[in-house]
Amino acid sequence: MPGARKATSPQLATGSVSLLIGTRKGAFILGADRTRRTWKLSAPMFLGHIVHHLMLDPRDRRTMLMAASTGHLGPTIFCSTDLGKTWKEAKTPPAFPKTPEAQNGRVVDHVFWLTPGHPIEPGLWYAGTSPQGLFRSNDGGVTWKPFSYINDDPQYREWMGTVQDGTPDGPKLHSILIDPRDPRHLYFAMSGGGVHESVDGGRTFAPMINGLETVEGFDAANVTFHDPHCVRLCPTNPDRLYQQNHCGIYRMDRAEGRWIRIGKNMPKKVGDIGFPMVLHPRDADTAWVFPMDGSTVWPRVSPGGKPAAYVTRNGGKAWTRQDKGFPRANAWWTVKRQAMTADVHEPVGLYLGTTSGEVWASRTGGTNWTCLARHLPEIYSVEAAEL
C-alpha cells in the first residue's frame, strides 16, 4: 500500500462552478457566477437519453464524457472536447468480449460510472458498467477495452453474482478511485460484490471487506454479500476511505486495515442507510451523507419525509443534522449515489440532485440549503466542475 508520501492538497478554487447533471431524460449544465449565487440552467443535452454520469476531465478542463443509453438503444459514451458544445460518440463503447456461445456471454446494459485517470496519464479514463464490468480508455474516451482480468475471472464472476442478485436497476461497478500519489494504486466497488484494491495497476485485485457488515443471516466473510453504495478516498489523506454501504456508514484508515462502522454514531431514528458519500476536499475528518429510509421494503425516501444531510467533522465520532432550507415535511425524495458532491471553494459548496428533479446547493458547507432548479427529470448524478 502506498503511504509514505503525502498527497498534495487540491488547490483552493476561486473560479466559477458548473454542475454537470445526469438525469433519466438527458443531461444539463447548471452554471454559476464566481459568487455561486446566480445560476443558469442550460438547455437539455441528449434529451430523452438516460444519462448516468457526466464528467469533466480535470486535467484539461475541456473534455467531457457522458455515459448514455436510451430505453430502446444500447449503451454508449459521448465525448466532447469543447465543454459540451459539440459531441461525438465513442467509436467502441465499453462491451464485454464476444463468447463462442452467445447465451453465456454478458452484455453491457449501461455505463454507470466514469473516472478520469491520474493527472500524469492524460487521456486515460476508467468506466464501470452494469452488470459489473471494468473498462479503460487510453484515448480520451474514443475507444474502450475491458480492463484488468476481473470481468472474466471465475472468482470475480462468482462475487458479482447474476443480474438477479443485483440492485433493482441492475448490479453496478462504481467508485473507481485512483490514489493521487500513485496511478497504479486503484480501488473499485461493486453493488453487490464488495470493495477491491489493486497496488499493481490492475494486474491483481484483492477484496477489502474486513469489518463490513452484511444483511442479517448472511456470511460477512463472503464477498458476494457485500453491497457498498459509494466509496470515496480523502484527497488530502489517500490512506483514509469513507463508505456509504447498504449496511451502514464506514471509515477505513489503511494502517488499521479494517472498516469501522461510524454510522453507529448517527441518530437511531434516522439510521445510517443511504447512497451518497461526500468528502471535504481539504479536511480528512469532514464528510457528509444523506440518509434515506432503508426499513421494511426500502422506501428509498428521506426518513419521515424530512430531508437532511448529516456532517461529521471528526471522522465519524459524531454527526450533525443539516436541514436548514430543506422542506420541513412531506418531501418524499432522496439522493442517488452519484448525485451529491462538493466543490473545492472556501467555504465548501455542497450540491445534490434529487429523485424528484430538484437541485439543491449550500455555499456554506451544508449549514444552509437553497433550491437552484426544479422540475428536471429524475437526477442520477451531479458533479461540480471548475471551468
Binding site: G71, L73, G74, E89, F96, A102, V107
Partner: protein, 86 residues
C-alpha cells in the same frame, strides 16, 4: 434493399428514414450500415450478436430474431423500437 430507420436512430443516418444497403444476410446488412453510419450497430445489436431487448427487426413484415437469415435484393427491412419505457 431498403432499410427503414426508426426515429431513435436517425441521428446516425442524417435524419434519413430509409437507406439502401446490401448484404446476403441481416448480419451483413447491419455491418454495412455500421460502416456507413458508425455506431449504429451497437445501439441495436449486443456484443453477443443478439438483437437488443427493445429492438425488433422485420424482413418483409415478418419478425426476424436470427441475424444469419438469408436476404434477397428486393427485401424490405424495418428496424422498430418496441413500445416500452416511461
Amino acid at each position: 434493399m431498403t432499410v427503414h430507420i426508426p426515429g431513435a436512430l436517425r441521428s446516425y443516418t442524417k435524419q434519413k428514414s430509409e437507406v439502401a444497403a446490401e448484404g446476403q444476410t441481416l448480419t451483413e446488412v447491419v455491418s454495412a450500415l455500421n460502416c456507413r453510419y458508425p455506431g449504429l450497430r451497437f445501439r441495436i445489436i449486443t456484443e453477443q450478436d443478439t438483437i437488443r431487448p427493445h429492438i425488433r427487426i422485420f424482413v418483409n413484415e415478418e419478425q426476424v430474431r436470427d441475424l444469419s437469415v438469408a436476404l434477397q435484393p428486393d427485401d424490405q427491412i424495418q428496424i422498430i423500437c418496441a413500445l416500452s419505457g416511461g
